[in-house]
């Protein structure tokens, strides 16, 4: 029963966050971009909980809880926006939603 180094959790969180960034930059589908954002939020949550373990405080859990609430609100509003965009343009490609570009 030796345990796991605390750094492993932080490095895993960094890996997940970077994969979220990579997905956000690489993919062209609005819904997949949204899921990449959720992945990044999850990675940050893991960091919060890890430091909560390190400092033996429950505060990190509270912040994680608030991040979850904000993510739920964001998903509800964001998916409603996606529905509206799809209703108006019949596409989910972010490159096609460029009416503010010029």
């Amino acid at each position: 029963m030796s345990g796991v180094p605390l750094n492993w959790y932080l490095i895993l969180s960094a890996i997940l966050f970077c994969l979220g960034i990579a997905g956000f930059l690489y993919r062209r589908n609005i819904i997949t971009l949204f899921m990449s954002i959720e992945l990044m939020l999850n990675a940050v949550n893991l960091t919060f909980v890890t430091f909560s373990y390190k400092f033996k405080q429950v505060d990190g859990h509270i912040f994680t809880f608030f991040v979850m609430v904000v993510a739920a609100a964001e998903a509800a509003v964001g998916l409603a926006i996606i529905l509206t965009v799809f209703k108006n343009r019949q596409t989910l490609q972010v490159d096609d939603v460029n009416s503010m570009k010029n």
């Binding site: 062209r28 997949t32 799809f86 490609q93």
Partner: protein
């Protein structure tokens, strides 16, 4: 034993996260994201965050992902086409990201050199009672503000997604 479970769930999380990026259809990405969230819930449990692990499964893997899958099914937009930059991204992005992660791991290792060990059961104050006590005493005002935020989000989603009546 802790390292064994950590490696299993970390591997599942990373493989599913890569799968999110690689898959071309959104529904595959959504199911991979469920895998990431489930393995993260197991890792939370190993860190002693029982309430957060349960909330992760219920709120994230349950509610939010059901919403995602529902929207994907409703829209049924099919696959996506990548831009022409996609090839360059694949060529340069992967090594650059690996380099960045190596650097980041080095920084983390340098910032926390005394490798503290995480043991299952090393932090037992993450249950619902302790989280609730902190939530309703020290963090009462943010909690109420967040409930107003949820209300605003509900109204906003209804306004955005309703059919035009008139």
């Amino acid at each position: 034993m802790d390292a064994f479970f950590f490696l299993i769930f970390a591997t599942i999380a990373v493989v599913c996260a890569i799968n999110i990026i690689v898959q071309t259809h959104p529904i595959s990405s959504a199911l991979s994201l469920v895998g990431v969230m489930g393995s993260l819930a197991a890792l939370y449990l190993m860190l002693g965050a029982e309430f957060i692990a349960a909330a992760q499964m219920i709120v994230y893997a349950g509610a939010i992902m059901v919403l995602f899958v529902f929207v994907i099914m409703v829209l049924n937009a099919g696959g996506e086409r990548l831009t022409k930059r996609g090839a360059y991204v694949r060529l340069f992005g992967v090594p650059l990201m690996a380099m960045f992660l190596g650097l980041l791991a080095f920084v983390i290792q340098a910032a926390l050199p005394r490798g503290e060990m995480v043991r299952f059961g090393g932090f037992t104050r993450g249950g619902p009672a302790d989280v609730g006590r902190a939530l309703f005493t020290q963090y009462l005002l943010p909690f109420e503000v967040v409930s107003v935020l949820i209300l605003i989000a509900i109204i906003g989603a209804i306004v955005l997604a309703r059919k035009e009546i008139d």
